[in-house]
């Protein structure tokens, strides 16, 4: 036992300057430390945050009620700006979701060890982000009570079907699939931990609830085998989704003829942007969370640094996307395109949003070229926040700015959001936080089993090294 300890501490993979698990850990120690925050009654910090979140949620309820009661007129939208906050937020939230899927699925397939301690976290984020996103396509319609089912293909007594040429119909399929898969993926990963929660829970009620959720998991070899397969399978399923969902969302714009929307680079650059904003969001939440939940030993600086690297990489892709947009606008020789990018966006009434976007998405990420920045909690946190802002501005630019001045100058109008727009937007952030805080409270924030597994792997490696040393 001592030997394992020493070996674990003394012999380290030289290629991993910062370990993925810090300190001397045993299954038990991990169990207790990682499940601890579930059993611990939440502290002041949690309650304050939760209060804030609920307040936000309240705003959402008010905003949505007003919208459904009075109509879209309560928003700032007009003709020509038919879409604004509703769709901006929809795209923004969907984008944020992507980190989760990417981390859990693609990194799993690529067998990236460092994903383990953050994937649960990121998947939850995906789930909640998608829930927020799903809200908008429905409430942004003029008659949601019809939109809810006329967009579904079913043999109606009218003998009409949805119009499959419309990207909005593609969205319905893309997003709902995305949501289902993410939910399954997240829940499946949760089962073993739910089981250990069940086992370690004291009160009978908890035991029953977690018991039910654990679906009678006993951890038998067969269970594990099936589990592994299923998990891998879902990973395989959701991998294409990472690419497809935002590609299809980008079609909402790329398929139209509007200057600033009608752009072939959209699909890849939307996906990059999605991952970009997704990781930014994970960092934004992870930095405080690891602090308060005492996860420092599993969510190490290495994880954060890796995520920052991803942010840097995707940020560069996004920048390239912008560059292409502008280049094509000039190269196409279309006056409408050119004016859109070089007049309306740069100098128009909404130019500030454009420049803010440029700063946040093009300038800020480059700070992660420097290791100091990548490993400094404060810097990365601020940078991540800015990226979130920047990505929201990007959607505002694409949607509202493009719409408010298009082909015929006679129908150019200003756009200004109303209090309802804001309260719904802030409200979704409230919804997201609420769900997230509940998640932090009631289920392990990191995948305990996976971490244990990882520990064993590392320990095994360690043994290997030790023997070499002795021999």
């Amino acid at each position: 036992m001592a030997s394992t300890a020493t070996s674990a501490s003394t012999t380290r993979d030289p290629l991993e300057p910062i370990p993925l698990i810090q300190g001397v850990q045993t299954d038990e120690s991990l169990n207790t430390s990682l499940l601890d925050h579930v059993w611990r009654s939440p502290g002041k910090g949690w309650w304050t945050l939760f209060g804030l979140a609920l307040a936000g949620l309240g705003l959402l309820v008010i905003g949505v009620t007003v919208t459904l009661w009075k109509g879209i007129g309560m928003w700032g939208n007009n003709i020509p700006v038919g879409w604004a906050f509703g769709i901006i937020n929809f795209v923004w939230w969907i984008g944020i979701g992507h980190a989760g899927t990417l981390i859990s699925a693609i990194l799993l397939l690529l067998q990236q060890k460092w994903r383990t301690s953050i994937n649960r976290f990121a998947e939850a984020m995906t789930l909640f982000a998608v829930i927020c996103a799903l809200l908008f396509p429905l409430i942004h319609t003029g008659r949601p009570w019809f939109a809810a089912y006329w967009l579904m293909p079913y043999p109606s007594v009218q003998g009409i079907w949805p119009q499959f040429k419309s990207p909005l119909v593609w969205d319905v399929f893309a997003v709902s699939t995305y949501f289902t898969i993410s939910l399954l993926f997240w829940f499946l990963g949760l089962i073993p931990d739910l089981a250990s929660l069940r086992d370690s829970s004291k009160k009978p009620l908890q035991k029953t609830i977690y018991g039910m959720l654990a679906l009678g998991w006993r951890g038998s070899g067969r269970h594990w085998a099936e589990y592994k397969w299923a998990y891998l399978l879902l990973a395989g399923l959701s991998t294409p989704l990472v690419l497809s969902v935002h590609t299809i969302v980008s079609f909402d714009f790329a398929v139209s003829i509007l200057p600033g929307w009608h752009t072939t680079v959209f699909p890849p650059y939307f996906v990059a942007g999605a991952v970009f904003s997704g990781f930014a969001m994970v960092v934004t939440w992870m930095v405080p969370a690891r602090q308060f939940l005492g996860l420092k030993h599993v969510v190490t600086m290495k994880h954060l640094e890796n995520m920052n690297k991803v942010i840097l990489a995707t940020g560069l892709m996004v920048s390239y996307g912008y560059a292409m947009e502008h280049f094509i606008a000039w190269y196409s020789g279309s006056q409408y395109e050119f004016d859109e990018f070089f007049q309306v966006r740069m100098r128009g009434p909404m130019a500030p949003v454009y420049w803010l976007m440029m700063f946040c998405n093009v300038v800020v990420p480059n700070i992660f070229w420097f290791k100091k920045a990548r490993t400094n909690l404060l810097i990365m946190w601020v940078a991540a926040l800015l990226v979130n802002v920047g990505m929201w501005c990007e959607r505002f630019n694409i949607i509202a700015t493009s719409l408010h001045r298009d082909f015929l100058p006679s129908k150019w109008e200003l756009y200004a959001p109303t209090w309802v727009d804001w309260s719904i937007y802030i409200g979704t952030i409230g919804l997201f936080s609420t769900l997230f805080l509940l998640f932090l409270k009631f289920v392990p924030a990191v995948a305990v089993t996976e971490v244990k597994e990882l520990r064993h792997e590392l320990a095994h490696q360690a043994h290997g090294h030790a023997e070499e040393a002795h021999g």
């Binding site: 700006v81 006329w150 949805p162 119009q163 006679s410 129908k411």
Partner: protein, 1050 residues
């Protein structure tokens, strides 16, 4: 008060509307009573409909339990005294969104049991076929003359106004006011209760009181009896006047309208020694010079003038050339080939300068003499003037000068002299004995009456003129004076400013509820017939005048019929049984052969003009300082239409202002005043304008092409009467207006007030951003096939490369298409109101317009080019262009907008879920969205006037121009039942039918002989945003400017 007098649900046995099918496509049948209960049921139905049932089209099938009626009756009770609009069910907001019905959950109705009831007639009038419209001829006018109308009626409810093709002034078209008449008819704010000093009165009591009154006045020959009427040419009115004056020799009649100008009458009197009125014949005019005359935009001749003017704008044939001299851009100014901006006060100088210039040319010595009478008063750019002079000489005998109503007698006299000298008299302009009762009826005409009242010489004043307390020049303090008249009897359309100070308020029957007669500008007489019995028991002015002849209890119908029975002989060719003759007159809407011929031997008295000028000019406005110039508002005129939301929300043709008036100033003046512009070019500083001892706060609006140091102020706003739509809109420019200089004067003090004003403009951007959506070119360029303009046109109609074979529509029976001629279109905007009326388009109110949510399907874009101080202007009507490859269609997720086999871009309201994706993807931005519930709060009475052929759209639904598909389908069915095809010209869209200029052609593109096919094959044809490959069905014809080479820039 007996509810009988005002309860629209009571039958009015005496005054059933008698209606006669007109000769204009009316359906068969002899005169019959449209039994009023039909209307009552409709009222009841729509009242009930304000709940769940939103049935508009088949009132007789949708009437729920009779609860409807008592409810409305109760409402009627409460609708008194003023403040009618404060009814609980008719909130201020609901007036912002008039006509409508909405169908929130209509989508489900299809599969739900119907618990509705069906209510047949008891006795169905012979000519009524439920579901088929009838058409009746009548006439209406705001300046004493009547414009011939044909009104569509569904089961006794007038639902649409059209022009009468057989009428001299209408030629089948209408102006904006006529289109909006329905709103005046179905207006809950109308005066409903006959009152004496706020005591309700029955009509019979009123008559007896009038009897005693007239008895008293008869004693002294009516020395203290006065009548204040609108200017009128109505034979019946004149007859009644005559008879009243016979009975009361000392009584006096005064004609008054605040928008009437007296310059013309006086000027022509000076020129010809007696009162005559000018008639203009633009078809013969190849050079037209307007001196501050908006002859295309206002006046009884305007509808006809526009048709004639537009006829001369085709580059194929010899084109006319229009010079306009004016301070602020008008409809006429926007159509000008050359425009000279000049302060209103300097127009006299221009007239004299022009006379002098011509005087220097051989053969016009006489003019030199007249010009010398001006003692060197001159204005205008000499180069410009000499160019115009040469052009006039070149077209001697085919030129025309027109002076505006605002201009003084001096200008009118000089213009008369010029026309005479240029041999235009008898060809482009003729003079006839005035048809109006009084030659003078402008603000000045009111002064003597005011003095008499002030001197206490008036006991009884009968007011049938519009709202003098509000419209009278401020210095007369007429509202105060009226309060002093013991018996001021006001024939009130609304409980307005005048009603508030009159002792008697008699609710007026609306023009569409009245019998009467009217004259066209050439004298042709039209009979005015009611389309519906008075909804709130109003009475006609005929009946009020009749009261002083002891005929008050005779209905206007009786009076009119008697008068015409007597006059039958005087009408050439009107022989035979009177009943049949009467039938024909009423049916046709015109009495052929009643026009009056112009005066033959008139000789111009040059000497008189020469002497007269000095005095006139001296009397006229002079001095330095800022000029204030008043104009009748383009939409609400002098305020009489201020309660019509259609007109309030109609963007004015030049500045696109809705729900407001403004102080129009030139960009330079704005600069010097330090006027700030904020937001999207629609928020301006507020000005304080002081003139004499009077001042007003007026928001500035920068008006390109406006004369410097001059402010144009529109009258008719800042109303304070009990009219919920009108009140609180704009400012009352009238408070600055003096009877000495009612139209313009200098010496106003202008300064910036604190604060800014946000206008509800429907178009904030002036420039075309080098995109040339509306193409204008000079005749020279157009005739040169190598010119850039021609290349642009070619390019904008040439076939585009496409990867898929466009669908072939040539096999279909019909291939609908439209062509809009920018050369003809003046931007008058009658089409917008017509469309609004035909398609049940709601109004949304100022706040929504500010947010960019106006609902009009048809908009008229206005672009400036050249320098802002003195720009060239072009207008472009734009509604859905029905793209063959429509961008809106493929993005709709629910198939709510699709293409018909005949190429219509169809919008299916009941399928729409309101994603607004179609609008985003529409490059023309012609789709309109019901952002809020704009319709369901519509008062029941207003719903009567809605078009039952068009679904009322609910909240959250997209809508747009349909090419009036309801007309297409009805015509298709009628013709197919008859087993034939729709012929070219028998099917018109609402905009096309109302267009005075005839700028819109619509029809079948598969018919090679159709007018639209020919128009689309024109050399000037181009497609809007052609390069996008949308293949629009609406094509445009470029405007060609007939520039004078001497003045052509560059």
């Amino acid at each position: 008060m007996s509810s009988h007098d005002q309860d629209p649900l009571q039958d009015h046995p005496e005054d059933h509307a008698r209606s006669t099918p007109s000769g204009n496509g009316a359906s068969s049948g002899s005169p019959r009573r449209i039994s009023l209960p039909i209307v009552d049921e409709a009222l009841a139905a729509t009242e009930a409909a304000s709940g769940a049932v939103r049935e508009q089209r088949k009132y007789w099938r949708s009437i729920a339990e009779k609860e409807g009626s008592p409810k409305l009756a109760a409402a009627a009770q409460r609708e008194f005294p003023p403040g009618a609009s404060e009814l609980p069910e008719v909130s201020r907001r609901s007036f912002m969104k008039l006509f409508g019905g909405g169908a929130a959950a209509a989508g489900l109705a299809a599969c739900h049991p119907s618990d509705e009831q069906a209510i047949p007639f008891v006795r169905r009038p012979e000519e009524v076929t439920p579901g088929n419209a009838l058409h009746f001829a009548t006439a209406y006018g705001v300046e004493g003359y009547g414009l011939g109308l044909v009104v569509e009626s569904h089961e006794g409810r007038p639902t649409k106004i059209e022009g009468n093709p057989d009428h001299h002034d209408s030629l089948g078209a209408t102006g904006r006011y006529e289109q909006a008449l329905l709103q005046g008819l179905y207006d809950n704010d109308r005066a409903k209760q006959l009152k004496h000093k706020d005591e309700p009165l029955s009509w019979h009591t009123f008559l007896s009181q009038m009897a005693t009154l007239s008895g008293r006045h008869a004693a002294d020959g009516g020395a203290k009896l006065r009548f204040l009427t609108e200017p009128t040419a109505s034979p019946l009115q004149l007859e009644l006047r005559k008879r009243i004056l016979e009975k009361f020799p000392k009584a006096k009649f005064t004609s008054y309208s605040s928008i009437a100008g007296d310059g013309a009458a006086d000027g022509l009197r000076l020129a010809y020694g007696k009162y005559v009125e000018a008639r203009h014949e633009l078809t013969r005019a190849s050079v037209i010079v307007s001196l501050d005359a908006d002859f295309l935009g206002e006046g009884p001749e305007s509808v006809r003038a526009m048709r004639q003017f537009a006829g001369g704008r085709l580059p194929g044939a010899p084109m006319n050339r229009l010079y306009v001299v004016e301070p602020a851009l008008t409809v006429t100014g926007m159509s000008a080939d050359h425009r000279l901006r000049l302060r209103a006060g300097d127009v006299a100088g221009f007239a004299l300068a022009l006379a002098a210039e011509l005087g220097r040319r051989p053969g016009f010595a006489q003019l030199a003499g007249i010009a010398s009478g001006g003692h060197g008063v001159t204005a205008g750019d000499p180069k410009w003037i000499s160019a115009v002079a040469s052009d006039l000489i070149k077209h001697r005998g085919q030129s025309l000068l027109i002076a505006g109503r605002r201009q003084s007698a001096a200008v009118h006299a000089v213009v008369a002299a010029l026309n005479a000298a240029l041999d235009n008299v008898g060809t482009t302009v003729t003079y006839a004995t005035p048809l109006l009762a009084d030659p003078l009826s402008g603000p000045k005409a009111l002064a003597p009456l005011a003095e008499e009242i002030a001197a206490g010489q008036v006991d009884t004043l009968v007011i049938t003129a519009y709202n003098p307390a509000y419209t009278a020049p401020a210095d007369l303090k007429f509202d105060k004076l009226l309060a002093r008249v013991p018996n001021a009897i006001y024939w009130a359309a609304y409980e307005d400013e005048t009603a508030a100070v009159s002792s008697y308020v008699v609710p007026a029957a609306h023009a569409l509820e009245s019998w009467g007669d009217a004259r066209a500008t050439d004298g042709t007489i039209s009979l005015v017939q009611p389309l519906i019995a008075p909804l709130w028991g109003g009475h006609t002015d005929i009946e009020i005048l009749g009261a002083f002849l002891g005929e008050g209890d005779l209905s206007a119908y009786e009076v009119l019929r008697r008068s015409w029975a007597a006059k039958q002989a005087s009408v050439p060719g009107a022989t035979g049984e009177f009943d049949q003759v009467w039938e024909k007159w009423v049916g046709d809407g015109v009495i052929v052969g009643t026009e009056t011929s112009p005066e033959a031997a008139l000789t111009l008295d040059a000497a008189a003009i020469q002497q007269g000028l000095g005095a006139l000019l001296a009397a006229g406005p002079k001095g330095a300082g800022v000029e204030i110039a008043f104009v009748p508002d383009y939409k609400v005129v002098d305020g009489r239409f201020a309660n019509s939301a259609w007109l309030q929300e109609l963007p004015d043709p030049v500045h696109k202002i809705t729900w407001d008036n403004a102080a129009l100033i030139s960009p330079a003046m704005a600069k010097s005043l330090g006027v700030e512009v904020e937001r999207d070019n629609d928020k301006f500083s507020v000005l304080v304008i002081e003139y004499k001892d009077r001042r007003v706060h007026a928001p500035a609006l920068i008006a390109p092409g406006h004369a410097d140091d001059s402010i144009t102020l529109a009258l008719g706003y800042g109303r304070t009467g009990a009219e919920s739509v009108a009140s609180g809109v704009g400012f009352n420019a009238g408070v600055l207006r003096g009877s000495d200089a009612p139209w313009f004067d200098r010496g106003a003090q202008v300064s910036l007030a604190t604060g800014m004003h946000l206008f509800g403009l429907t178009q904030n951007h002036w420039s075309m951003e080098n995109r040339e959506p509306a193409i204008a070119t000079s005749l020279a360029d157009f005739q040169n096939p190598r010119s850039e303009a021609r290349e642009l046109l070619e390019e904008r109609r040439a076939a585009l490369p496409t990867i898929h074979e466009p669908h072939d529509y040539s096999k279909e029976q019909y291939k609908w298409g439209m062509a809009i001629d920018l050369g003809k279109c003046t931007g008058c905007s009658a089409c917008i109101v017509a469309c609004q009326s035909e398609n049940n388009i709601p109004t949304v109110g100022r706040d929504q317009v500010v947010r960019g949510r106006e609902m009009q399907w048809l908009r008229v874009d206005r672009y400036y080019s050249g320098e802002l101080e003195d720009p060239e202007v072009i207008v472009q009507p734009l509604a859905c262009v029905h793209c063959e490859t429509a961008p809106c269609e493929y993005v709709c997720p629910v198939n709510a907008t699709v293409h018909s086999d005949e190429g219509l871009n169809e919008m299916v309201y009941n399928r729409c879920v309101g994603t607004r994706y179609c609008s985003n993807n529409c490059p023309y931005k012609v789709r309109r969205f019901n952002f809020l519930d704009f319709t369901s709060e519509t008062p029941a009475v207003r719903r009567l006037g809605m078009n039952p052929e068009v679904t009322v759209r609910s909240r959250g639904v997209m809508e747009k121009c349909t090419y009036c598909v309801q007309r297409i389908e009805r015509k298709r069915i009628d013709t197919r039942v008859a087993g034939r095809l729709i012929e070219d010209g028998e099917l018109k869209t609402a905009c096309q039918q109302s267009c005075p200029a005839g700028a819109i052609e619509f029809g079948n593109l598969n018919d090679l002989k159709s007018r639209v096919t020919k128009a689309q094959a024109d050399e000037r044809r181009y497609d809007l945003l052609h390069e996008l490959g949308t293949r629009p069905r609406t094509a445009y014809l470029a405007r060609v400017r007939n520039l004078n080479p001497e003045l052509a820039k560059g």
